[in-house]
């Protein structure tokens, strides 16, 4: 019985069904299924499948985002029943696009894949002032600050975030990743970023690796 309900929940996450996921999560809780099992074997495994499907281009961005929303709706039901220390936590990430830049699709893909892979994400949007990246990281006790820029003329905003951290003495507290259209490894090295990836799926792997390596 438990397996059936978990399987239905997992499938609902894969289908991006924002109504069915919280309903099935609640149903599983009522049936006495362990909240950790609901999280790990239902919601997380479903999200994992969606991430893999997106990477293989079997599904597209809309399906990825709908699954992300469904997953979040499920988490709202389950998390109150789980002790904080029991929640599997891969890391906390602040994502945003630099000041002067309003492009966000790349950032949104990265965010959706982070969520699908079990990261906690705070998306602070586009055209973000430098200090807001740092303030948000402080607020959620982030592991990573991920700074996106799509235009050549806005790349400098990535450097500004790192310079700001250097000058306030907070650089060692956070892993800084950069990404977006004209960003590349040389640029990341030049400005002193800790991580860069060409694609969102690769960026998720880099994020996980950097956290694991404890580069602080």
């Amino acid at each position: 019985m438990m397996g059936k309900e978990i399987e239905a929940l997992k499938q609902a996450v894969v289908n991006g069904d924002e109504v069915a996921v919280p309903y099935l999560a609640r149903k599983a809780l009522d049936a006495g299924v362990s909240p950790i099992d609901i999280l790990e074997k239902g919601i997380s495994e479903g999200a994992q499948i969606v991430g893999e499907q997106f990477e293989k281009m079997e599904i597209f961005l809309t399906e990825l985002m709908l699954s992300g929303e469904a997953m979040m709706a499920g988490l709202e039901v389950v998390l109150p029943h789980v002790k904080a220390e029991d929640v599997p936590q891969r890391g906390k990430v602040v994502v945003g696009t630099v000041r002067g830049d309003i492009h966000e699709i790349g950032k949104n893909i990265f965010k959706s894949l982070l969520i699908a892979n079990g990261f906690e994400v705070s998306d602070i949007g586009v055209d973000v002032p430098t200090s807001k990246f740092v303030a948000e990281a402080e607020k959620i006790k982030a592991d990573i600050i991920a700074v996106s820029a799509l235009m050549t003329s806005t790349l400098g905003g990535q450097k500004d975030v790192i310079d700001f951290l250097e000058q306030t003495g907070d650089r060692a507290k956070y892993i800084v990743m950069v990404g977006g259209g004209p960003t590349n490894q040389e640029w990341a090295d030049e400005i002193g970023a800790d991580g860069f990836a060409e694609t969102a799926p690769e960026a998720v792997r880099v994020a996980a690796k950097l956290i694991e390596e404890g580069r602080r």
């Binding site: 806005t154 400098g156 905003g157 040389e186």
Partner: protein, 459 residues
């Protein structure tokens, strides 16, 4: 043309909706429905389709799309709505040409049709890719003008920095960078002996409206016969800053381009949905900005390039849809996966431009190595791309399809992990901009291979 004030009023008073809901609950499902309703299907066996019915179905679906979901204004979080009668009227009464360039270089950019023998407009150069210093900028632009005699217009690089300081948007660095882009570009064209060539990505370095406005001052060398681009945001969006540009440029009476980069694998879905969306973007440019030409640069969400088979089909299907059904000239721009001084980059250009030009588009030579790496530019790539585009004029779509399908297998497996190639300073003479012998050898080899497939080069 719909007055910009009317567009603005609709942006201010239209139906409110959150952007995310527009993306995934309005736009995306409607695209999916329309591709089914109109029977639009991507055929991996035919990269350059010859089916006029398919092109017209894509166009009808695009009209339905823009009438059903409108254009989203990000700042006001409202939908700019259009009805079908208005859309069809605007398409029928749109601009049908743009006069660009001065003196001996003045030409008229005209619409083309699939299989047309009319030569494509050659908008050649850097495609706005970034260079690290002004001397490389100068050498490249000068070389484009000298080495590409069939170029009708030049696309300059963007500057990364000003006097060593990395440019920041909306700062004096951006304004200075924008002014320098114009002045350097104009001076490089003068040195090449082609001072009348238009710069069609006027002020490539300007991201903000204030930088655009600064660079526009006649003291800095821009002319009314240069090209002025206004971005349309993915997918089917705009914002007040972009509408501000339209307000300014329409009042200046200059040729405006609506430019857009639909994302394969994004909210539009696969090849079919992205073809419909690209076509709707062309119409959006006419409706919201009063565009007299448009530029489409689709991109693969995973590879961030445009030479995958699905996108080659998309380039062809889109070009046929807009060139058969509107009279606004449509240009196509590509992102190669590979970088300079490689065979692959030239093969990618050949496949994409043979598909696009035989399908009715003109071209802007695109971003090399995904437009991602500073200084990964030489004059060879746009030179080759321009020559291929000329050779593709008059080609039957069925013949283009056969040729493209013979080129694609040479590189398709390398798209996920392409060779980055060489930087300008590693394969060109820094004093003259002349590419190395190695670059020319690769160019001659690939050109010969493409000629052997049946392409007749002008020279």
């Amino acid at each position: 043309m719909i007055p910009i004030i009317e567009i603005t009023n609709r942006a201010l008073d239209g139906k409110p909706i959150l952007e995310k809901d527009y993306d995934i609950r309005v736009f995306s499902p409607r695209v999916k429905e329309l591709t089914k309703e109109h029977g639009i299907v991507y055929d991996s066996e035919t990269l350059v389709p010859s089916d006029d019915g398919l092109a017209d179905s894509i166009f009808k679906a695009a009209i339905d799309l823009i009438c059903d979901v409108g254009v989203y204004c990000k700042d006001t979080e409202r939908i700019i709505a259009f009805d079908e009668k208005e859309v069809r009227t605007e398409i029928k009464t749109s601009f049908d040409h743009a006069v660009l360039g001065e003196g001996l270089e003045q030409r008229t950019l005209l619409p083309r049709k699939p299989e047309s023998e009319e030569l494509p407009w050659i908008f050649a150069g850097a495609g706005g890719v970034t260079v690290s210093d002004e001397s490389i900028f100068m050498r490249l632009v000068e070389s484009y003008a000298r080495m590409i005699p069939i170029a009708n217009a030049i696309t300059t690089p963007c500057l990364l920095s000003v006097d060593g300081a990395t440019i920041r948007a909306k700062s004096p660095l951006e304004i200075e960078g924008s002014i320098r882009t114009v002045k350097l570009g104009r001076e490089a064209l003068r040195r090449a002996g082609r001072p009348g060539l238009p710069i069609m990505n006027a002020i490539g370095t300007a991201e903000s409206a204030i930088a655009l406005a600064s660079g526009l001052h006649p003291d800095f060398g821009l002319r009314k016969t240069d090209g002025y681009m206004i971005a349309e945001l993915a997918e089917l969006k705009t914002d007040l800053d972009l509408l501000n540009r339209a307000a300014l440029l329409q009042s200046l009476n200059v040729p405006i381009a609506g430019i857009y980069g639909p994302i394969y694998g994004g909210f539009a879905g696969g090849a079919e949905g992205t073809a419909v969306t690209s076509t709707a973007f062309h119409i959006q440019g006419i409706l919201t900005y009063g565009a007299s030409w448009t530029l489409c640069f689709p991109i693969h969400i995973k590879y961030t390039s445009s030479s995958s088979p699905e996108l080659i089909w998309l380039a062809s299907a889109y070009a046929q849809a807009v060139s058969r059904n509107t009279k606004v000239p449509a240009l196509y721009y590509n992102y190669t996966a590979a970088g300079p001084c490689t065979e692959m980059v030239l093969q990618e250009f050949a496949a994409e431009f043979i598909a696009a030009v035989s399908s009715g588009a003109s071209i802007e030579t695109g971003g090399v190595a995904k437009g991602k790496y500073f200084d990964y530019l030489t004059p060879i790539e746009p030179m080759f791309a321009s020559e291929v585009a000329y050779a593709a004029a008059g080609l039957k779509r069925s013949d283009a399809d056969e040729i493209v399908k013979k080129i694609v297998p040479n590189f398709v497996d390398k798209v996920p992990d392409p060779p980055r190639g060489k930087r300008f300073q590693d394969c060109c003479d820094p004093m003259t901009g002349k590419p190395s012998e190695e670059c020319f050898e690769i160019y001659n080899r690939v050109k010969s291979e493409v000629a052997d497939l049946g392409m007749e080069f002008l020279y």
